[in-house]
């Protein structure tokens, strides 16, 4: 309410004191100096102020923080690399790169609306050891198809899962040169000792391999947004089966007047459910019954057990074919370069924050 009236109204012939004038002027000056309200404006009932009378940032301020790779993602370009030393969230990586973040001074209480998007790539098989590689990738000959035992995924950077094929090009042989660094020898799918000629069968016509019940889809990345250190939104684990993927987070939260910091953070880990197998002495079998029939054969002992991402390295696995049947030739040793470990890189990320003043 900004109606003001003179404090002193001198009467006829009354001596006017200087303080009378000062008090009266002060009434109006105090109002003009930061106390005016809508009542002081000549607005009609339906009339509003003009848009041009509001300066920028009267109601809202907007900020943006961006990060992106400066070369192709497939060739190693990265905006940010999640840590392999911790499963916790980080906002600064080992190269000193920072995930998008915004710091601003709120002149009054209000709230913020944030939008965050990012995209990442995984690279690597996710295999942990040569033993695991042999167990998952070896495709033995299976009756009745007579082919040589061999490993899938020589030099592959894809995770292990789904169907993995062991046939190569049309004529099966590949990578053979006398001075080749690729020393894998992949013979025709069937080669009979009895025949002096090649069978002529083309492996592309009946591809071999195996389906994997359990894939190396156990590595996850997650993102979160924090306000002044408190988490306000997070993605949950996104696994490496979708080895190129994008995320989006948004939210609204009140902010207090003063300094506010909105950060985005990343965490990557090997996320596994650890299964236990019941062992030990069980009840004696009843006639025709089952031993330990009241105990589960396996159970989850720990869910979402986290460990750091494995380092990437290459191992060479040699595999020959010891089985000889039906006149098949003995295959000489094949050497497979199998990539172990896995990496994750964030290719691009963007944070937009709108500060709405209260």
């Amino acid at each position: 309410m900004s109606y003001r009236f003179p404090k002193v109204r001198p009467g006829e012939n009354e001596i006017i004191e200087p303080d009378d004038l000062n008090q009266n002027f002060k009434e109006f000056v105090d109002e003009i100096n930061g106390s005016l309200t809508r009542e002081n404006l000549q607005l009609k009932d339906d009339e509003t102020l003009k848009k041009s009378q509001f300066k920028n940032k009267t109601f809202c301020e907007v900020f943006q923080s961006s990060k992106y790779a400066t070369k192709t993602w497939d060739s190693g370009g990265a905006a940010f690399e999640p840590s392999k030393n911790t499963t916790g969230y980080i906002s600064v990586d080992k190269h000193g790169e920072e995930m998008p973040n915004i710091e601003f001074l709120a002149e009054r209480d209000g709230w913020i609306i944030f939008d965050f998007n990012a995209s990442h790539v995984w690279q690597g098989t996710g295999l942990l050891s040569a033993d695991e590689a042999l167990r998952m990738l070896l495709v033995k000959r299976h009756w009745p198809v007579a082919h040589y035992a061999r490993l899938a995924m020589h030099k592959s950077e894809l995770p292990v899962g789904g169907w993995v094929g062991i046939n190569c090009k049309d004529d099966e042989e590949m990578g053979i040169t006398h001075s080749s660094k690729i020393d894998i020898f992949v013979p025709p799918i069937v080669d009979f000792e009895l025949a002096t000629l090649s069978t002529g069968l083309r492996s592309r016509d009946f591809p071999q391999g195996k389906y994997l019940v359990q894939s190396t889809d156990r590595y996850g990345i997650r993102y979160r947004v924090t306000l002044n250190g408190s988490e306000i939104s997070e993605t949950g684990w996104l696994f490496n089966g979708k080895d190129r993927n994008g995320v989006y987070l948004c939210g609204v939260i009140p902010v207090r007047a003063g300094r506010n910091v909105i950060k985005t953070e990343v965490s990557a880990a090997n996320v596994e459910n650890i299964w236990g197998v019941s062992q030990g002495i069980r009840s004696e079998a009843e006639d025709g019954g089952k031993k330990g029939k009241f105990f589960p054969k396996s159970f989850v002992s720990s869910e979402n057990s986290l460990s750091t991402l494995p380092q990437r390295k290459t191992v060479t696995i040699s595999k020959g074919d010891e089985d000889l049947e039906h006149g098949l030739k003995r295959l000489k040793q094949s050497h497979y370069e199998i990539n172990l470990g896995i990496s994750c890189r964030v290719g691009a990320a963007n944070l937009v924050v709108q500060y709405r003043k209260g």
Partner: protein, 337 residues
């Protein structure tokens, strides 16, 4: 309007009429130049604030642009059209092949939004989202197979060119913070006669007594008998379980289709001066979503002459199937005040 200060009258001093008039004039002048400093906090309610003053402003032309699309398909673009692999001058598109705009390959729905009469410093929030369905193309049927990747990003296109001609203008800019890639690593196997087919045997060397090793599916199974048999073509128990029933383009029964979502939010601030090219400061700008689908390796010879297989021999080469984009939305709103 700065705070005003009027002369203070003191005891014992002469009060001149000019001093008195100066004080009243100061007040009158202040009333003609009021600004936010003169008003108290919460001086105005929503009744005094015009609609659209903060987030909607039609004062400078059509701003509240929105583009939506229902369903479309995108085909494999090939390496030459992958603008995302080109890092030149901080993202500018200037290679001829990267300027191409084709709704079947890289410009879904021919989408665009237009901003006109932009002023320096003006801010606009742009949002885009769409769903992605990538079918299983059985890319890993063979050892060196690799699935396809879909890439997408927001692109700034200076107005002044008619996009319908099929080319983005030079000095369009890919907005790298909005770039996202999508791929599912696991695939199924192409429907194939993995235990050999009679057609594939047609190419076999004649010197071997194949009749001793191969039996058709309909023949009586003999234990320790022939090694190979064609397991396609149905059987008495499952007559509909044949090659056509599993063809990836007609039946779609491969087991690893994947779904993704692209969503982005970008704050565009119109510059007062250009960094790379004067088109950055043009008052009219367009924004589009551009995509690229590619990178698939079927793991076997890509020679068209090698299109043998399928029913003819035993296994069709993994097919570069199109992907589907749906529920497309691209819109923006200015943030002025």
């Amino acid at each position: 309007m700065p705070y005003i200060k009027v002369p203070e009258f003191k005891h014992g001093e002469t009060i001149k009429s000019s001093d008195f008039n100066d004080a009243t004039t100061e007040i009158k002048d202040a009333c003609k130049k009021l600004d936010g400093l003169n008003f108290s906090d919460q001086a105005f309610g929503q009744d005094e604030v015009p609609v659209g003053v903060s987030l909607r402003d039609s004062e400078y032309g059509d701003r509240n642009a929105q583009f939506t699309g229902s369903v479309t398909s995108i085909s494999h673009g090939g390496f030459v059209d992958d603008l995302f692999s080109s890092y030149h001058d901080d993202g500018f598109i200037f290679l001829e092949t990267h300027r191409n705009l084709n709704p079947s390959f890289n410009w879904p729905f021919k989408n665009y939004i237009r901003l006109k009469n932009l002023q320096a410093g003006e801010k606009v929030i742009i949002r885009a989202s769409f769903r992605i369905n990538i079918p299983d193309m059985a890319a890993r049927t063979y050892m060196y197979g690799r699935p396809a990747t879909l890439k997408a990003a927001l692109v700034r296109v200076p107005l002044g060119s008619d996009l319908s001609t099929g080319d983005a203008p030079l000095y369009s800019t890919i907005l790298r913070p909005t770039e996202q890639h999508f791929r599912f690593a696991f695939t199924d196997k192409m429907p194939s006669a993995s235990s050999l087919s009679s057609q594939a045997l047609a190419h076999a060397a004649p010197v071997l007594p194949w009749e001793n090793f191969y039996a058709s599916r309909d023949s009586v199974f003999i234990e320790n008998g022939p090694w190979y048999r064609d397991n396609r073509g149905g059987s008495d128990d499952n007559p509909d379980d044949d090659y056509d029933a599993h063809h990836p383009t007609s039946a779609g029964t491969l087991n690893f289709p994947s779904q993704f979502n692209y969503t982005t939010c970008y704050l565009y601030e119109h510059p007062s001066e250009f960094v790379h090219n004067v088109t950055e400061t043009l008052a009219d700008q367009q924004f589009i979503i551009k995509v690229w689908l590619g990178g698939m390796n079927p793991g076997r010879n890509d020679d068209p002459d090698s299109e043998l297989g399928g029913k003819g021999s035993g296994c069709l080469k993994p097919l570069r199937l199109p992907i589907e984009i749906s529920d497309f939305d691209l819109h923006c709103y200015p943030v002025r005040r």
